[in-house]
Amino acid sequence: MATIKIPPVLRPAVGGEREISADGENVGEILRAVVEEHPSTSAQLFGADGDLNRYVNVYLNDEDVRVLDGLDTSVGSGDTLVILPAMAGGAR
């Protein structure tokens, strides 16, 4: 069971929770389990092609899974997935 941290923008789709849990061996399985439980997250998490929504960053603990193995990135039971919106850096 992995913990998933939900950003404010997605909380209405998961009943207002900041943190939820889901089962799965990798990022894709876990996010699909989230969608099964909370169907309205589907369009926010995934694009039409079934890949991650372009504007969603998913981190395995603190590392962006896009530069690891994407949806195939393995997730251990003590790991946390952090979902964050893609934003324009900070003070640039």
């Binding site: 900070g90 003070a91 640039r92």
Partner: protein, 321 residues
């Protein structure tokens, strides 16, 4: 491994402050290096004329526009920037006779506003809760409505990474003939793309690592994830790792650089150093280079250098870097 340490006679001789941009020192951090075989280096970009790495970018953006005949003296340059790029553009525009209008969130530190006014820039504030995304959105809208503005748009202009491809990276390669990892902050992506491309071309096997701010919830003010933003110049395929750092960790490491290496740097450098030390710990040998984008003078009013972390106000609602 290179031991290219040598005394330089001086920082060089230049005919103009704009020409003096770059040529920054590369400094070894022996106390922070986690392993004897791994050497940790910081490229001290605070030594640029206005105090940040963005002098390189601003010069490149303006020279590129001049070369392409896109601007003429007296014209107004418009750019979304919450700080360093604006300050650099303000200096260069003042020197070259352009007007500058910057769009920035209303929750950036007071020093930034002072510096921009000091160099004569006009400021347009965007909604702080929308972070940099809000500034970008407002500036794009203003530019669409008034064609007299020239917007260099650092997020989408190849002149931004080119400042590093043709500058910063070459300076690093002059000093080191091996680099195992290069670590920089991810904002516009210019530093990582320009240095990353050049270092990979010249050295082949070098890990390009992005440290990015984990924005506090108060500045994640998006209505929908589709309001997100990815700077067009970013090619994520060039990155080997991308790691977020919380504001609290960034400030803790900014203090650590001060306490252990006596380096006075801005908050982004704390975050980048944290990631650089972690990457260095994963290697057995080699050089790890990271970028110190600016010094800490723009963060004085927040008290981060002297106050305990728990006493720092607005830790999560401030855009620190």
């Amino acid at each position: 491994m290179s031991t290219n340490l040598r005394n330089k006679p001086c920082g060089g001789r230049y005919g103009d402050v704009i020409e003096a941009i770059g040529h920054t020192p590369l400094i070894e951090l022996k106390r922070l290096s986690p392993k004897p075989g791994v050497r940790l280096w910081v490229k001290l970009e605070s030594r640029n004329p206005t105090g940040s790495v963005k002098d390189r970018v601003a010069r490149s953006l303006i020279l590129d526009a001049e070369d392409k005949g896109l601007i003429r003296p007296g014209q107004t340059i418009l750019e979304p920037t919450s700080g360093n790029t604006g300050i650099s553009l303000a200096m260069i525009c003042a020197r070259k006779g352009y007007r500058l209008k910057v769009v920035m969130p209303d929750n950036v530190t007071r020093e930034r506003t002072e510096l921009l006014r000091m160099y004569g820039a006009d400021i347009v504030y965007s909604e702080g809760s929308k972070g940099s995304n809000g500034a970008v959105e407002l500036a794009l809208d203003m530019a669409a409505k008034d064609s007299s503005y020239y917007m260099p748009y650092q997020y989408g202009n190849e002149a931004n990474p080119n400042a590093h491809y043709n500058g910063t990276a070459l300076e690093i390669l002059e000093e080191l003939d091996e680099v195992s990892a290069f670590v920089a902050g991810l904002g516009t992506g210019g530093t990582l793309m320009g240095n990353g491309r050049r270092l990979k071309e010249e050295l082949g096997d070098v890990k390009i690592v992005a440290a990015e701010p984990m924005q506090g919830e108060p500045v994640q003010g998006l209505r929908s994830l589709d309001d997100g933003f990815i700077p067009p110049i970013i090619d994520i395929g060039l990155l080997d790792r991308k790691i977020f750092v919380t504001n609290a960790d960034a400030i803790t490491w900014t203090r650590k650089l001060l306490d252990e290496e006596q380096l006075f740097v801005g908050v982004s450098t704390g975050a980048i150093a944290r990631v650089a030390v972690r990457i260095a710990g994963e290697l057995d040998e080699g050089n790890v280079v990271f970028i110190a984008a600016d010094d800490g003078s723009k963060y004085f009013s927040s008290g981060i250098y002297t106050r305990p972390l728990e006493e720092i106000e607005n830790l999560d609602s401030t855009v620190w870097w």
